[in-house]
Point group: C2
Chain length 341, copies 2
Amino acid sequence: MNQKKILLKDIAKKLNVSTTTVSFVLNGKGKEKKISDEVIKKIEDYVESINFRPNLVAQSLRTGKTKILVFMVEDISNYFFAKIARIIEDIAYSKGYKILFCSNENNDDRSRDLINLFSKLQVDGFIIIPSAGIKKDIENLIKNNIPVVLCDRHFPQLKTSYVVINNYEASKEATTHLINNGFKNIAFITTDVRQIQMLDRLKGYEKAIAEAGLKSTVLQIPFADTNSEKGRDMISCLFTENKELDAVFFSTNYLTQSGLEMIKETNPSLINTLGIITFDDNDLFRIYSPSISAVAQPLHQIGQELMNIMLNLLKDNNTNQLKQVTLKANLIIRNSSLRKN
Amino acid sequence: MNQKKILLKDIAKKLNVSTTTVSFVLNGKGKEKKISDEVIKKIEDYVESINFRPNLVAQSLRTGKTKILVFMVEDISNYFFAKIARIIEDIAYSKGYKILFCSNENNDDRSRDLINLFSKLQVDGFIIIPSAGIKKDIENLIKNNIPVVLCDRHFPQLKTSYVVINNYEASKEATTHLINNGFKNIAFITTDVRQIQMLDRLKGYEKAIAEAGLKSTVLQIPFADTNSEKGRDMISCLFTENKELDAVFFSTNYLTQSGLEMIKETNPSLINTLGIITFDDNDLFRIYSPSISAVAQPLHQIGQELMNIMLNLLKDNNTNQLKQVTLKANLIIRNSSLRKN
């Protein structure tokens, strides 16, 4: 039973009122326009009885606003992105905005497809964790005066608002903490992603290692293999081939997960002798045995700053106004990174 | 620099072609309509140069389709929901659909707000993990011939398509497994949510306990407190007040997390003597020490079935066609539920 498309004028005809009257009532302007309570009720009751759904975009053409924001992340099933998504969602909701989420898989084509879709939906603003090759697409949004805030990473040559953390310093601090706890052969396990946030974490590690006169050991796992058997095998081989390793610093939470899994499967006793730090915390790292030390990103603060910037851009309707925020990550020292014996 | 609204006819005028020609080209029908390659290129180049974004809803009015689906979950930051979201997203994407996610917090007002928003956006279909009081809203969507599939839970009195798991049997099996491993005082820790999936888990536990002639001990934590200090205190009190407890079955993964946290903080040795099973698996339960036994929902199968049903509804444009799927959860036996000496 397909319901026929019902238009304002059909409603007006049916109820013997003008189309304008119907339009005012459906837009909540009945009282303001001095339409009688009786007529307002008649229209509202009828509209409910036929399940009429006014067209949002027809509304947005009038107001110019859809009250919809987009948060595009790398992978919505990743703890870090999902938590920020939820924090942003709650703030947006309290301010009368809805947030739509989607994953771009750190893939440029998919990012572009999604940006095109949401542009067509005429959303009011974009919060984006960008893949590496979409600088031009972000630039186009800004040219079109659409509010954009980047998160987690940004394009150094592009003037955009963003919220990131001090990856370089945080990584250097964590590595130095391992060195201060007596570890001498510290591996850095990361991905091959050439984006600024990952490069900065690598540089921070290398700087601390160089300053201490130690030898750096870096494993870069192809992004596509980070959560696969192949990724775990690469981690396993690293330890087989470098017997002298006494600590490891994982550059993301999903790599830590693969690493813990590999240890559990192939060499369980290693968990008690190896120094371990992870970039990005997770509720379960706290309750693991040993509890896993983590460079924790300030998720609530990130979400709050992203929404502050976005709400300001929306209010001022001036996307040339830049705000670039770099927050400090917190090194949370737990048992896994403390001096052994 | 606000860009002026540019309309098809402005483009047509500028390029000295007809509005119809512009419309055909922008809708990818240039070749079909025998428009010359030269004109197609001219229009495409110009449109790109001015960053023109055709209006999706204008398109959808023509085709009646937006190619957008919604997946509304309880909490996008919960592992279980986020994983299914990601699986659905990948299937949808491969079929030419985009999926938008949002969290309803298991709250009826928020669910209703979101359903209204997406109805106005004229999305093609809804996959919903419903809060308890939105039966009528789901009913309205179906009346309007909008494809809906429910997930995780459903309304027994409402004729809808859904994908759920056999909560009762899975819970009974897990409890029986604990009993068979010598545990005699098994607590069931759950929420106060009165929805079918939670009630069935409780019933399955009670049935197994009754059949074995054991005493049931049930703790129901208010939903709002499940992830709070108060929730953890309630779990802690349960163990203080019931010294005889030798095993616990958590009805959701977030309750397990709170429980593990409480044990780690207040009584770490308990982790080795207590029998533990969780409903809903998590990558980290596998690598925990001891590894945590889990009733694992078949996430990929759930995602696949949801999308199969949705794609069929979309194809046939007949939302009266019901498909109700109940999948079997898998009891994954790990160390935490095995006989203690």
